[in-house]
């Protein structure tokens, strides 16, 4: 099988493959879609004057179920939205938060910001420590990420969308323990609990 998510030019096109059509349309076979996923996608489609606007939230929903935008996930979204799988594949490959390589549905996402402000404060060392200590644990999906918009707590990471920082290399074992145990991650380092830096902003 060709790597669906290949971004490089080093994987040849599969010339034997039939062009994919919209599942369930024009005689092409429909694909089974889990009922909850179908409802969620349809709810998103109803919000827009053009239902195709729902592509990002629909793919995100399918990814939550499958762990990544697998061929099966793409087919299911295509079936509900009435678009070709190829058009969704083109969308999925564009965005960093949509994964086109296998990820376990149970995996926790750990984004480590390695952009300029965080790297000035030690993000590269932090990312190295996190990915080394995470090892090949399938429950942890560790990725370096571009600026996450939290340079006030640099260096930082986002764990399943929860921002924590400033982190040191010493915080890493506790951080990973919290994630693996399903606990709230580093509660006293969470961004949402941090007061505004501006002294005039006091309540």
């Amino acid at each position: 099988m060709n790597a669906v998510g290949s971004r490089g030019w080093d994987v040849p096109a599969d010339l034997e493959k039939n062009p994919a059509t919209i599942p369930g349309v024009g005689g092409s076979p429909s694909v089974p879609v889990p009922e909850d996923l179908r409802k969620e996608i349809e709810a998103h489609m109803a919000l827009y004057p053009d239902t195709r606007s729902a592509a990002l939230p629909a793919l995100a929903a399918a990814q939550r179920l499958h762990g990544w935008c697998s061929p099966e996930a793409i087919d299911q979204v295509a079936c509900v939205m009435g678009v070709t799988p190829a058009s969704l594949d083109a969308v999925a490959t564009f965005y960093d938060m949509l994964y086109t390589e296998p990820v376990s549905p149970q995996a926790h996402s750990v984004y480590v910001c390695t952009n300029i402000s965080c790297s000035l404060r030690g993000a590269d060392e932090l990312y190295a420590a996190i990915s080394e200590q995470a090892g090949d644990d399938e429950a942890l999906d560790v990725r370096p990420f571009e600026c996450l918009g939290a340079c006030d707590i640099a260096p930082m990471a986002s764990v399943d969308g929860v921002y924590v920082g400033p982190l040191t290399v010493d915080d890493v074992p506790k951080l990973l323990d919290d994630i693996r145990a399903g606990r709230e991650v580093l509660p006293d380092k969470q961004l949402v609990r941090r007061p505004c830096a501006d002294p005039k902003a006091g309540a």
Partner: protein
């Protein structure tokens, strides 16, 4: 530096809820606006001379006035993608005072005659998007959003739309394509979004901070608001300060204060014993300034005069412990990663710049490479559909121009280290 319009008691517990927001006078500006005509509201926005807070600094009132008149369906899109490195002000606003954004957005939609609106928030801000969704539900239940708002003729639908991680979706036409469910590739302009934007309809696009300022303008009156700041840069601005400073964070300043007051006075400057080497005044896309430039007033026109830009109001400070090559390489790699690939000068130029910087660091470069790299930057600027390529070329070009000696010394040092001839020369000495 006494005015706090946006950050006024922003840490008040529960400010994200409608009850607390209303108790401190929230949505009164909307009530006032709905008693005026849309033209009067637009007049106040124009009188305020409020300039867009997302990066381009275009007058908001003028932008609204570009929309065609008549019964055609118009869209209002709030740009909450906030992906410019170093910028995190909108995040704090949306998380702590989401109703301020919703109120400003509804007032702006009334002035613009827009009936459908979207907040495009970057996918990484999922906590903030959840807070916005909850605030929107409350606002809808209270009749501030929806059909015939507060009994007026004005109706507005609002959807919080989550992105999925792409810097280019902060570019307004890339954002529109993304909102239509496509790859976030920027469009050829003209036509501008005011004429053909979302779903080919007239579209007004404003940043979170810009829209959040609108209630204050309606409350105070545009003329009164324009007294804050300088003549061409009115009002207060949220500044995100990060990098080598002791107190990184968001600060609300009056436009026109000396930059030193922000970097040293508010953010505490670099750690003890370190000096400011260079700083980005408006996100990583802005040409860098140096430690000599700290007395430049922080406003749109002074930054433009200094050859850089206020941008999104994100100050990134680099102290003298960091080699300039590291800063340049980090910056260039980011733009290489985020280039959408549509225009050749950007796609190839960002890639070549990274490769040449890496050559310098490996000791394989010659002094001529520095000139070639500078010329690559010149060939990117102005030659693409959007300014992503320029956003790399401008800061990299400024670093080469201002730190040429350091680049050359770095190049020479690495060359000597890595070449056998260098080792021989070292042995002979």
């Amino acid at each position: 530096m006494t005015e706090t319009l946006l950050f006024d008691r922003i840490d008040e517990p529960g400010l994200n809820t409608l009850a607390v927001y209303e108790a401190r006078g929230g949505y009164q500006a909307l009530r006032k606006a709905l008693k005026m005509t849309p033209e009067e509201v637009l007049g106040e926005l124009e009188a305020s001379n409020l300039r867009g807070r997302g990066g381009a600094g275009f007058q908001m009132g003028k932008k609204v006035s570009f929309l065609p008149h008549g019964a055609i369906e118009k869209y209002l899109v709030c740009n909450a993608d906030e992906s410019e490195p170093g910028t995190f002000k909108d995040r704090e606003l949306m998380q702590k005072t989401p109703h301020l954004l919703i109120e400003g957005l509804v007032i702006a939609s009334y002035a613009a005659g827009a009936s459908r609106s979207f907040i495009y928030i970057r996918g990484e801000y999922s906590q903030q998007a959840d807070i916005l969704d909850e605030a929107l539900r409350e606002a809808r239940d209270a009749g501030y959003v929806g059909e015939r708002i507060l009994g007026s003729e004005h109706s507005l639908s609002l959807v919080v739309h989550r992105g999925a991680g792409a810097y280019i979706c902060g570019e307004e036409t890339g954002l529109l394509d993304s909102l239509e469910g496509k790859r976030g590739n920027p469009r050829l302009k003209p036509p501008f979004p005011a004429n053909q934007g979302l779903y080919q309809g007239p579209t007004l696009i404003n940043n979170v901070e810009t829209l959040s300022t609108v209630p204050a303008i309606v409350r105070m009156g545009g003329a009164e608001y324009a007294k804050i700041g300088t003549e061409q840069s009115t009002g207060t601005k949220l500044v995100s300060v990060s990098g080598h400073v002791q107190r990184p964070g968001n600060y609300e300043i009056e436009l026109g204060v000396p930059s030193r007051e922000i970097i040293y006075g508010l953010a505490g400057g670099p750690p003890e014993g370190r000096k400011v080497k260079c700083w980005f005044p408006g996100g990583s896309s802005a040409p860098v300034l140096t430690g000599e430039d700290l007395d430049i007033p922080y406003d749109f026109e002074s930054m433009a005069k200094a050859g850089t830009m206020l941008g999104s109001g994100a100050i990134i400070v680099v102290d003298d412990s960091t080699p300039i090559l590291d800063v340049a390489l980090k910056t260039a790699k980011f733009y290489r990663h985020e280039s959408c690939g549509k225009c050749t000068p950007c796609r190839e130029g960002t890639n070549w710049t990274v490769k040449m910087l890496e050559r310098i660091d490996r000791g394989e470069a010659t002094p001529m490479d520095l000139e070639i790299m500078a010329s690559v930057q010149e060939h990117i600027i102005g030659h693409c559909l959007c300014v992503l390529g320029d956003a790399m070329a401008m800061p990299i070009g400024s670093m080469i121009a201002k730190f040429k000696d350091e680049f050359e010394a770095h190049m020479e040092a690495r060359r000597t280290e890595s070449s056998p001839a260098g080792e021989l020369a070292g042995a002979a000495a």
